[in-house]
């Protein structure tokens, strides 16, 4: 409960010793790798900050809840975080179907000024009216990712593009991005197939493969989670649909590749057609200062998901695109909290964010925010599998030939 003093001073979620951020993410279920990796990356940086005195003497702590990548638990968790735990802000939510349900809640309690920072989704609802004012995004959008994929495919002569997508808001967001990008080139979707959220790698995607195969696509863009997309890639190869299969950043590339590797057969067979878009640079590229810092802190802290949230076994990756994104989220979050000064107050949060202008996060691209700019980064990277790991794709024509 909020004390009378806290109510008067507006110090919700922040005491003399700590600033509490609330996070609801998938720590269980077939997408648990996403929440776990995002958390690990963020905590690697927050631990580093806390070990060095915190922000104005306050340690940054995360209050965690598991939503299993399901909207209703996510809404309940958010209510708890806002009304019972009284967190300072919401941070690092995972997924479009979850976040799109939470946004109306933020609008309902807009007087409390609880903002959602850096959700792990590139969907449009938290980037546009009527909910855009309640969230701040760091990553590029699905629109940018899908447009990049479509543009590169079309430039390489792959004009018949099919879509395999999750039957929910996330899938629809990506589907709409692909459709809009094709529309700009006067093209239409060659075909589409859907799957239910929560599908596991052990499930069959043969029906979906057959539907798309019947439309003779030159390439397929997948908008899904790693378990379902890995199952689709497996069944596509098995059913002889051997065309480039693109995945968005949300897929969790390492988790996807791990599942395909676990098949026990030549991973090259199933991964040679994969091209995954990313919203952070490759964690293999140690020429990037933030990547060096990320690798060092991940190795030093190797954060683990709290045991009370672990329902199913999960083996984390030493580095991953998702944990690197979590790391960058935490780095920018810390900078914003620093800009709040010695008396952190929600009233000053938006102003602190808008003061981030041309900020060097250490990845080359500089970050700026403003009233009409609520997304920090714009760059989309592309990766393919070589020797069992994702590497940056520089030459689309060469890869597709």
């Amino acid at each position: 409960m909020v004390s009378a003093q806290e109510m008067e001073t507006g110090f919700e979620g922040a005491t003399d010793d700590e600033i509490v951020l609330g996070m609801s993410a998938a720590f269980s279920g077939p997408s648990r790798g996403l929440g776990s990796e995002l958390y690990r990356g963020a905590m690697a940086y927050f631990n580093h900050v806390n070990d060095n005195g915190g922000v104005a003497g306050r340690k940054i702590t995360l209050k965690l809840y598991d939503d299993g990548y399901q909207p209703d638990p996510c809404v309940r968790n958010t209510m708890k975080l806002m009304l019972e735990d009284n967190v300072f802000l919401l941070f690092g939510y995972v997924g479009t179907p979850t976040v799109t349900r939470v946004l109306p809640l933020l609008k309902k309690f807009q007087d409390e000024q609880v903002y959602l920072f850096f959700p792990f989704t590139g969907a449009q609802p938290q980037r546009e009216p009527p909910y855009g004012d309640f969230a701040f995004n760091l990553r590029a959008s699905y629109r940018q990712e899908t447009a990049g994929l479509v543009n590169n495919f079309l430039a390489a002569g792959k004009r018949r593009i099919g879509v395999f997508y999750q039957a929910d808001a996330y899938g629809r967001s990506g589907w709409a991005g692909v459709r809009a990008a094709l529309d700009r080139h006067g093209e239409r979707l060659a075909g589409e197939a859907t799957y239910r959220r929560g599908s596991r790698f052990t499930g069959s995607m043969r029906e979906q493969v057959e539907i798309l195969k019947s439309n003779s696509p030159d390439a397929v863009i997948c908008i899904g989670s790693y378990a379902a997309c890995a199952a689709f890639a497996r069944d596509a190869v098995d059913r002889d649909l051997r065309v480039p299969i693109a995945n968005l950043s949300f897929v969790g590339s390492e988790n996807m590749l791990q599942l395909l590797s676990d098949l026990g057969e030549d991973v090259e067979t199933y991964s040679r057609y994969l091209v995954n878009s990313q919203v952070v640079p490759s964690y293999e590229d140690t020429s990037i200062p933030a990547v060096r810092e990320y690798r060092e802190l991940m190795e030093r802290y190797d954060p683990a998901v709290p045991e009370e949230l672990v329902q199913e076994s999960y083996s984390p990756f030493p580095q991953s695109f998702v944990s690197l994104e979590g790391f960058l989220d935490a780095k920018l979050m810390t900078e914003i909290l620093r800009r709040l000064g010695g008396s952190p107050d929600r009233d000053g949060l938006e102003e602190a964010v808008f003061s981030v202008d041309n900020y060097d996060l250490g990845i080359g691209e500089r970050v700026s925010f403003g009233p009409d700019r609520r997304q920090g980064l714009q760059t989309v990277y592309y990766t393919v599998v070589q020797e069992g790991r994702f590497v940056t794709l520089e030459d689309w024509q060469g890869w597709l030939s």
């Binding site: 449009q124 629809r172 589409e192 799957y195």
Partner: protein, 246 residues
């Protein structure tokens, strides 16, 4: 001695009457429940379609299809609603809930139609589909598919519960009637036995006093029989004279 023949028709009549009542009530109940629930489900579907259509306008105009999908995903959790899809004015499928793909039957249908239509989709089942135009149809159409099998099952359950209740009333009513008839038949059987004893010139049984002491028609008849047979009782308490017979 039992009075079987006298009440056989009465019992049969009671059975017949209750049977007809039960049949008529059940038939009326089935018709009413079936009609009302079907209409209610259809109305609900139409209301849902209209509700989505009304709230879709801004979302569609803002091209926010993720929010639109999120909205129909919530509606499809309502019992009886099996699928929802939204088409643009050009017939493009902007959002839907089908997995693994949009069925051929839907793709081949008139995307702008809002008339209720019954569909049978292989692998999915039988549906009643209703539609509602978005912005008078210029922005598209919302279609809601109601699972007829699921609705039929719910209606059957509701009817079954009503019919079971009526049958329970039937059994209780019949048993109560038989008990009442038997209650009425018992003194008549005793009276008959009494009359037979008198006719055979035998000594009355111990129950004769009970019969003669009754103040109803059975008692009157017993006393009349006694009087006719000339075996008036010693005690006049029972009033065995003809003038005491009502």
């Amino acid at each position: 001695m039992k009075i079987q023949k006298l009440f056989q028709r009465t019992r049969f009549g009671i059975f017949l009457l209750f049977g007809v009542i039960v049949l008529c009530t059940s038939a009326l109940c089935i018709y009413t429940v079936d009609t009302q629930l079907t209409a209610e489900y259809e109305t609900n579907s139409q209301n849902i379609a209209k509700s989505i259509a009304d709230s879709s306008v801004d979302i569609l105009l803002n091209r926010n299809l993720a929010t639109l999908q999120s909205m129909i995903d919530q509606f499809v959790e309502i019992q009886g609603i099996r699928y929802i899809y939204i088409t643009s004015e050009n017939g493009e499928y902007l959002a839907h809930t089908f997995v693994p793909g949009i069925p051929e039957e839907i793709l081949a249908s008139d995307h702008a139609s809002t008339e209720p239509v019954e569909r049978s989709i292989p692998g999915l089942g039988d549906f009643l589909e209703v539609g509602s135009p978005i912005l008078a149809g210029v922005a598209g159409t919302v279609h809601v598919g109601m699972d007829q099998d699921e609705v039929a099952l719910k209606i059957q359950r509701a009817i079954g519960q009503q019919v079971i209740l009526i049958c329970i009333f039937l059994v209780v009513g019949v048993l109560a009637s038989i008990w009442l008839v038997n209650l009425a038949a018992k003194p008549l059987a005793e009276l008959l036995a009494y009359a037979v004893n008198i006719a055979d010139d035998k000594e009355p049984e111990t129950t004769a006093d009970d019969l003669l002491g009754r103040d109803d028609e059975v008692g009157d008849l017993a006393r009349l029989f006694r009087h006719i047979s000339g075996k008036a009782p010693d005690s006049g308490a029972s009033g065995a004279s003809p003038e005491n017979v009502r």
